[in-house]
């Protein structure tokens, strides 16, 4: 892996200088335009999804709306796939990504992360009847993942003996699990916990896998004005326990009492 990492690092530099030809919008420019473009998921309830009326909803979206509101601009949501998040930022198709974006080293070379607002590690959900409770049990089995997620990266790197079945979208991946196309599905544990809660017959056999990671907003590499503003916003929101309120509004109805809010929520960018 280390040689590959070096290669990737070099590529990262090349890409960022190339991408540098295109200028990200500064905070000032965003204010002037009156809208901020925010990349969110549309199929990852309860974090980012579209409700029955076609309105964007979820934990990430509530934060996104608040961000826009405090900036005095309109939030314009751009639907993104997991795999599109970095390219979207690189090509300035969005100003900010608020799509359950786990902070990783590879990504940090391509984009700039702000302070985190959530904690995660990976979880694996499987049918209760054939519950998978350890990574070892996955050997030789088919694991569903979504392209471009930390789950994909983790299993590619650490468990090459697991057969991965990859989908472009979360919706497709969940459907594949429901249709029995794979033995289990892995993604952020918050995600699978929420999903298993509302899908009888499925259990999260592995609740925490890999390193505990954080989730943070991301901006175009070097777009400091916007990143600084977001950091400032995250800090000031701590005083009103904004993310606890967000949790209560969007996640608690799904998680109920099973999950401790402080295992998930990060206030003021400070990971406890």
């Amino acid at each position: 892996g280390s040689a590959a990492d070096a290669v990737k690092g070099a590529a990262g530099d090349a890409a960022s200088t190339e991408a540098g030809q295109s200028q990200a919008r500064t905070l000032e420019q965003i204010k002037q335009s009156g809208t901020i473009n925010i990349g969110v998921f549309t199929d990852k309830a309860p974090f980012g999804y579209v409700d029955g009326n076609g309105t964007y909803q979820g934990y990430d979206v509530v934060f996104a709306n608040r961000l826009a509101q405090d900036l005095g601009v309109k939030a314009s949501f751009v639907a993104t796939d997991a795999a599109n998040r970095v390219p979207y930022l690189e090509s300035n198709k969005v100003d900010v990504i608020l799509a359950n974006f786990t902070v990783t080293d590879e990504r940090a070379q391509k984009v700039d992360f702000a302070e985190p607002y959530m904690k995660v590690s990976l979880g694996v959900v499987s049918p209760t009847s054939k519950s998978i409770t350890s990574v070892e049990a996955l050997a030789g089995k088919t694991l569903i993942v979504t392209k471009g997620t930390t789950a994909e990266t983790y299993f590619e790197k650490n468990h090459p003996d697991v057969t991965l079945q990859k989908y472009d979208q979360y919706a497709d991946a969940y459907n594949a699990l429901l249709d029995g196309r794979g033995d289990a599905f892995s993604t952020d544990n918050t995600e699978v916990l929420a999903w298993a809660k509302s899908n009888p017959g499925y259990t999260v056999g592995i609740t925490s896998l890999g390193d505990a990671d954080t989730i943070a907003p991301a901006v175009h590499k070097g777009n400091d004005t916007v990143r600084d503003y977001i950091n400032q916003e995250i800090n000031s929101l701590a005083s009103e326990s904004f993310f606890h309120a967000d949790y209560a509004q969007t996640l608690e109805p799904v998680y109920g009492d099973d999950v401790n809010v402080d295992d998930i929520v990060v206030e003021g960018g400070k990971v406890s």
Binding site: A4, V7, K8, A10, A11, G12, A14, A15, E18, A82, A83, V86, P87, E90, E106, R107, K110, K147, G148, E152, T153, E156, Q165, K166, Y167, D168, D172, N175, A176, L178, D179, G180, R181
Partner: protein
């Protein structure tokens, strides 16, 4: 351009190209079968079957492969029918390609002047002999450009199967972009891979067309 990346991942593209080829060739084979069946049914004017074939052609030509695949892959399981991605891809490509192939075969058959059948008849040939020695060779010669175009079309369309978890070329490229964000390199390899598969087919088609030219007067 990051040559290290290219050197490292080119072998993966070779594997993915095999998937692309395998899926598209199987799909093409099914298309040809469906196409022959369909054009025969329409050529011979078999009552009910003819209407069924006509309806099939309309459905197949007026809906996108992606939707056909999603219906097969994600829709049908809700009826308890779970097909593997390979099966869905081959059925989907066959469903789509069948109508295109049928069209090519039909135009080939139609292009053979009726006087050819007459000529064969007055020479004492039976219907089967006439079909085998006179009609089909000519029909095929006329149909070849259309068939080659369909083959290219179907190999291209097969890129859509990446959406149902088949590890073809497109799937690999999307995956590499999502994993390592080396967009330029991943796409360059993708273009080279498709060109390597399709340029020879395209050239072969042109050659074949030229060789069969005398058959089309």
């Amino acid at each position: 351009m990051d040559w290290g990346f290219i050197a490292r991942y080119a072998p993966y593209y070779v594997l993915a190209a095999q998937v692309t080829l395998l899926i598209s060739l199987s799909g093409i084979a099914v298309s040809v079968l469906v196409g022959i069946l369909c054009s025969m049914v329409r050529h011979a004017r078999i009552p009910v079957l003819r209407q069924v074939a006509a309806a099939y052609v309309e459905l197949s030509r007026n809906t996108p492969l992606l939707v056909q695949l999603f219906f097969l892959y994600f829709g049908l399981p809700k009826l308890g029918i779970v097909w593997s991605p390979e099966a869905c891809a081959i059925v989907g490509l066959g469903f789509l390609g069948g109508s295109y192939m049928a069209e090519s075969f039909r135009s080939g058959l139609d292009s053979v002047a009726s006087s050819q059948a007459d000529a064969a008849s007055v020479l004492g040939m039976t219907r089967v002999q006439s079909l085998r020695h006179v009609i089909l060779p000519q029909a095929l010669a006329v149909a070849v450009p259309g068939i080659v175009a369909n083959v290219i079309f179907l190999v291209k369309e097969s890129s859509v199967v990446s959406g149902i978890a088949l590890a073809d070329l497109m799937y690999l490229a999307k995956d590499l972009i999502g994993l390592y964000y080396d967009t330029t390199e991943a796409l360059a390899l993708l273009v080279v891979a498709y060109a390597t598969i399709l340029l020879p087919i395209s050239l072969l088609g042109t050659l074949l067309e030229r060789r069969l030219d005398h058959a089309r007067r």
